[in-house]
Amino acid sequence: METDEELVRRTLSEGSHHFGVLIQRYADYLFGLGMRLTSGNKELAEDISQQAFMKSFTYLKSFNSQKKFKHWLTGIAVNCYKDLIQKENQHLSLNVNDEPSYTPHLEGNIDFFNLIKPLTEDEKILFTLKYVYEYQINEIADLLNQKSGTVKSKISRALEKLK
C-alpha cells in the first residue's frame, strides 16, 4: 500500500487521479470529524469533508512531507468548519422569515453532542481533537497554528465547563 506522502508526490507529478486514493482513504475520517463538530449534522459534515479535500488539493504543493498528511488534512477540515459556521451565522443574522424552514438530518451519539453543547466552537474543536482523537497538545497547536499554552488553557477551561 502506498503511503500518503507517496500519493501526494504522485498527485503532484502525475495528476489528480492519485488524489482519489487519498480521498477514499480519509473520507470516513473527515466525515466523522465533521459529524462530531457539527453535532451530527450529516449534510454539514459532508460539506466540510468535501471542502477540506478540495482545499487540500489546491494547496497540495505547500504540504510539508516531513509532517503527517492526516494532521495537515485535519487542520484544513477544522478551518473549513470554522468558515462554514461563520457563513451560517451571517446567514442567521439576516432576516429569514420568508424562507422555508429546514430541519437538518441529525445522527450519531446524542450523549456526546449534548455533552459538548455548552462549549464554544473553538473549545468544541480542541476538546474533540484532544479527547476523542487523542491528539497531543503540541500536535493540536501545530495543526491549528496556535501556541501550545493557549491550546492547553482553552482545553482546561472547556473541561471546567463540563464538570
Binding site: 489528480s16 487521479h17 488524489f19 482519489g20 480521498i23 477514499q24 473520507a27 470516513d28 466525515f31 466523522g32 459529524m35 462530531r36 459534515a45 459532508e46 469533508s49 468535501q50 479535500f53 478540495m54 488539493f57 489546491t58 450519531g108 451519539n109 450523549d111 456526546f112 455533552l115 479527547y131 476523542v132 463540563l162 464538570k163
Partner: protein, 108 residues
C-alpha cells in the same frame, strides 16, 4: 468525571461512514478537475488579453504616427523615418503574435 469519560469512550467507539465513498470520491475529483480547468482558462484569457492589447497598441501606433507626420509636415514628410518606425513596430508585432501562438499551444 466518570460519566464524562464514559461518554467519551462511547464516542470513540462510534464509527461514522460516508454514504457512498466511491461516488463521493468521484464527485469530489470531478469538482477538483472542474476548478483546475476554470483556473487554467482564466490564466489563458488573461495572457491572451495582455498579448492582444500589446499587439493592438503596436499595430495602431505606426498608423497614428504616419497620420501625424502627414498632417504636421505635409510639405516635407520624412518617409524613410516613417518606414523605419513601421518596420520596427510590425517586426515587434510579429514577435508578439508568434509568442501568443506558442503560449496558447503550451497552455492547451
Amino acid at each position: 468525571m466518570n460519566q464524562l469519560e464514559t461518554i467519551i469512550e462511547k464516542e470513540k467507539e462510534t464509527s461514522y461512514s460516508q454514504r457512498n465513498k466511491e461516488l463521493f470520491s468521484f464527485y469530489t475529483l470531478t469538482l477538483i478537475n472542474q476548478e483546475q480547468a476554470s483556473r487554467k482558462l482564466k490564466r489563458k484569457l488573461w495572457v491572451s488579453l495582455l498579448l492582444i492589447t500589446g499587439s493592438l497598441f503596436l499595430l495602431l501606433s505606426p498608423i497614428s504616427e504616419m497620420m501625424n507626420y502627414f498632417i504636421l509636415n505635409l510639405s516635407s514628410p520624412s518617409t524613410v523615418d516613417i518606414f523605419k518606425m513601421a518596420a520596427v513596430s510590425y517586426g515587434f508585432l510579429f514577435v508578439l503574435i508568434v509568442l501568443l501562438k506558442k503560449r496558447i499551444t503550451i497552455l492547451s
